[in-house]
Point group: C2
Chain length 620, copies 2
């Protein structure tokens, strides 16, 4: 049992956090004080009794983790960290100001935030990744806590994470659902039906505990119960009230995302009386006691052996990717791979077979997979490579978007890009992957066109301190480069050239090989062309392209196994936008594709050698 003094203190701190949430949102004239209020006791108990952490060293890798999945409650989270001593309480009033990192929703610009939240339903997956890393990679005792809103439990990604958490027996993970009954525009579908939440959580293999979420005693008991479980994660289903403790506001609709306005003063006065700050003695925050192993961090992560191809055998870049990943794993103990039940297609299976303890099978749940990868990659301890068909990676588009706001360094690897996959048909063909991935700020987008460059792409990806996308291909490709060829991010390669080239062709993957075939035909007609392999589509090697184009009578053809929007074509056009005098043609997929043999499809959609040769002739 907990003594009365502790309980009373935590209740008073809860109200103090309410006050800060109201005042900060009054100052910013926007924000979500009522959603903060419902989780005031949960926050107070977690930050001032349950969690082991160091407010002065918030990214201590051995500390407990906290993820606020309902990111719109940032004000109360900031208030807790401020009251814990991470930064001055007075700064709370800078909420949402342009020169403050106390943004409307939490981002890792703040050193006490590991992952950005604010797009709902994502926090639990991040927390799963952290808990998986804690249990299986760090073999440590730190625990992971995640507060979810009830509204966001409608997101399927949440149930992907529930399934993941129980499958991997993440007993170091505790979710708390703040069941405050009200969404943005209406009551939530389940309102206060905590019994249905209990059944769902139980059916998904977690230990459910239903509590009065405004009751400190019940919360303390629940967190203790959670910490004693050995075989499954716990979910505390906390029945609360939106605007809890706020007169005329509690449990009322139409108070979502609104400061209290002229109801603020009265409520603050009432809460201040409950807090009596003059006599409030804040409890000691539990010290970090867990240990994490030290990881041998090399300055440069290297393939254990260089690419080794005989140059005659054709190899798929997806296979070379698997080979390289396995080689990286040999040299570097903090490289991790994840896959969504496609490992025998993406060839991440090569890594799994070599390092089964550093491979996470995520099954067919791409959103959670990406969330887990982002969670694993937090605090810069591990580097996660995520795999599935490129077409299905986009299932996690919103997670990848949020990953960018988290400044994650996850490496996304999408296989089976383009119509060149053949018979499986359009549902399996990524034709918009570059359009989406290119929008991620500071990402590197690799598009290797042979096995040698694919291996080097993986090596460069591991060393890049940011997000990466690698597009791999299904068909086998001829080897283009010598095994000792050196590759760099943002440096293109000229794969075909002569002194009298009349046109430059930029291509990638299957279309690069088609371009080479076309160049042979064109050469026979006395029309030599120069061919550029971009290697990275972002950043793009403007100089090499421009030099090539200028040397080839300012003619440029871009050809890609991608829709015409947002891919290689538009990337190159944008890079050359300030240039005049360049005549550009572009071949790309212009309609919904269909099933067929790869060669038939390349022809049908106008991106094979014949169409390339014709397009060059038309440009001349």
């Amino acid at each position: 049992m907990t003594d009365n003094n502790t309980v009373t203190t935590l209740e008073r701190i809860a109200n103090l956090l309410r006050i800060h949430s109201i005042e900060a949102t009054q100052a910013s004239n926007s924000g979500h004080p009522t959603s903060c209020s419902s989780m005031a006791e949960i926050t107070s108990v977690l930050f001032f009794n349950v969690m082991h952490y160091d407010p002065k060293d918030p990214r201590n890798p051995a500390a407990d983790r906290f993820v606020l999945s309902k990111g719109h409650c940032a004000p109360i989270l900031y208030a807790a960290w401020a009251e814990a001593g991470a930064f001055p309480v007075a700064d709370l009033k800078n909420l949402r100001k342009i020169d403050s990192d106390l943004e409307g929703h939490p981002t890792p610009r703040l050193n006490f935030i590991d992952v950005a939240t604010g797009s709902l339903g994502q926090g639990l997956g991040f927390a799963c990744g952290m808990a998986y890393a804690g249990k299986y990679f760090d073999h440590s005792d730190y625990r992971v806590y995640c507060v979810l809103g009830d509204g966001e439990c409608s997101e399927g990604s949440v149930w992907e994470s529930f399934a993941f958490g129980s499958f991997y027996k993440l007993n170091n993970l505790c979710a708390i659902i703040d069941v405050n009954r009200l969404g943005q525009s209406d009551p939530t579908p389940l309102q206060h039906d905590t019994e249905t939440y209990r059944k769902r959580v139980d059916a998904f293999g977690w230990h459910p505990i239903v509590v009065d979420g405004q009751n400190v005693n019940q919360l303390l008991a629940a967190f203790k119960e959670a910490s004693e479980l050995t075989d499954k994660p716990t979910c505390i289903i906390a029945k609360t009230f939106k605007g809890s403790g706020l007169k005329g506001i509690e449990d009322e609709l139409d108070w979502h995302g609104k400061p209290l306005g002229d109801k603020a003063a009265e409520n603050i006065a009432h809460l201040r009386a409950l807090v009596d700050e003059a006599t409030l003695v804040r409890p000691q925050i539990p010290k970090v006691t867990a240990k994490v192993p030290e990881l041998k961090k090399d300055k440069q992560i290297k393939l254990s052996s260089p690419p080794n191809y005989d140059g005659k055998k054709e190899i798929a870049t997806r296979l070379a990717h698997g080979t390289a990943l396995e080689k990286l794993g040999k040299g570097c103990e903090y490289v991790i791979a994840l896959d969504g039940d496609t490992k025998n297609s993406t060839f991440s299976i090569k890594f799994r077979d070599a390092f089964p303890n550093r491979f996470v099978e995520c099954y067919i749940a791409e959103q959670n997979m990406v969330q887990v990868a982002i969670g694993i990659a937090t605090r810069q301890r591990y580097i996660s490579f995520v795999h599935t068909f490129a077409a299905f990676l986009i299932r996690a588009a919103d997670q990848i978007r949020m990953g960018a706001i988290s400044f994650t360094r996850v490496k996304y690897v999408g296989s089976h890009a383009g119509v060149s996959i053949g018979e499986d048909g359009p549902s399996q063909m990524a034709l918009e992957d570059f359009a989406f991935f290119r929008t991620v700020p500071n990402i590197v987008c690799f598009y290797p066109s042979d096995a040698v460059s694919a291996e080097r792409a993986v090596e460069l990806a591991a060393n890049y301190d940011g997000a990466v996308y690698i597009r791999t291909s299904r068909p086998n490709f001829q080897i283009l480069y010598k095994n000792d060829e050196v590759f760099e991010i943002g440096k293109a390669k000229i794969v075909v050239e002569s002194s009298n080239d009349v046109c430059t062709i930029v291509a990638g993957g299957v279309t690069l090989h088609e371009a080479i075939k076309a160049s042979e035909k064109l050469k026979g007609l006395g029309k030599a062309v120069r061919i550029v392999d971009l290697f990275t589509v972002k950043p793009i090697d403007r100089d090499t392209i421009l030099k090539a184009v200028n040397a080839t009578q300012n003619r440029l053809l871009i050809v890609e196994d991608h829709y015409s929007e947002g891919g290689l074509g538009e990337a190159v056009m944008a890079a050359l936008a300030d240039q005049t005098n360049i005549k550009i043609a572009h071949l790309a997929v212009l309609e919904v594709a269909r099933s067929g043999k790869p060669a038939e499809l390349l022809s049908k959609y106008g991106i094979d050698a014949e169409h390339i040769a014709n397009a060059v002739e038309k440009l001349l």
Copy 2:
């Protein structure tokens, strides 16, 4: 009870469908015969006993619907339709050929397919949309059936759909999970644990029935039980075996997505003996008995009254959208709106308030919302407008991608685009929406910049026979157009011009208004500019842009509240790629944004009037 003869016949048909699946995948040398085999009895029972439909009129709006969520089992679906008489059985061997519509995964190129599947976890949401339309819009007795794989039940979207189905008491909906234990690269996480499936389905409010999925009698009884429910949907959890009935293959790993090869002949011979086709009498397919109301379909859907703005009040395009949608609803009874608990922000609430029976609250589950919208829009009866923040629409990117392969005419409406939303911060700002939506073949992407054009965008969207994206904005904008201004898809407007313009500016939404401000400043400096409002970013009005640029000394500035990739800038550059002599500059958001006031953010990210004016001066 069902007579023995019926049961025996359905068993024989099941084996006949197995044979077709094996033979078709042998012919194409690719495909998934083992995944087909596990669902052979389910398919036989549904298509030859349970479902009411007309093989000669497969899109009859009163017929029962069937959705194959596990789209890779297309061969057995095609076999069922062929055996039912929809097309010659001999055609089955054209599976996956480029000149056949019998693609690797089903698409509505076939008249008996309503929705494309093949990206897993989507079928149930489509089926929910169809069932919702049947129960609440058509008020009809037709039923909807959906077969899911067990592997795809890891997808969260499936659980969004389960939650939706029970919340709306879709007793006309029956899901069947083909629990065949094996995924692509490994056993599924739950393998044959049907009890856990039962608990999950029950907790999500459906009526669960566990059966031996290879047992025709049990299946018949289960479908009967399902048809008698009045208050909830049913989920039949069918324990099956992958490769069921195939010697040396049944229940074995490593047989995913592979034709039987040299094991085919022996298995076909064995199955043929069981079928004894010479004596097989196919049962009569149950006739369509349900009725659907006739909808008054106007050739032209019109706003009930034209835009009516006084030109002085500033209005947000999201509000004008809501106004227009309400006006459309007045004139047209088959316009439907959906929202994901943001209706008071997107202003779809105006439609909800006017037509509560045609509004579907989908809660915070964007994937299912889009799936429901696509399901509702099948068979061309209803036109669905889907709403949420543009940033969260991308949560359904894979659904929108599959919607394109379904040739859906859903209208996606994303509000709160760009940094101009202000204090909420980057998690709520869509800055990649156009990059993604522009890739959808044949989509129309509207970007209205004032209330008048926003209303007309909605009207044009409703009349367009294809997918549409409308980007609406949070801030209030000045009215730019007269109430009787006429708008067309693919026609830009010149909003500022003079006879001596020195540069053209292309902009949209908030940046268009910033450009106008900049033009006033520049005019004062004696530098007149021409300003183009694209209205539709796709298709793009190349002629108007080119004419403007040519008339303004071939100088062009594009400015957008979007990342630099894939938005207005690259769209315009691509349209002008064949032009030489044009000098282009581009202002866009180049990094992860942050919280702040809209004006501060426009300035910080370099897309406000001042930056525009400077960029123009630099171009001169």
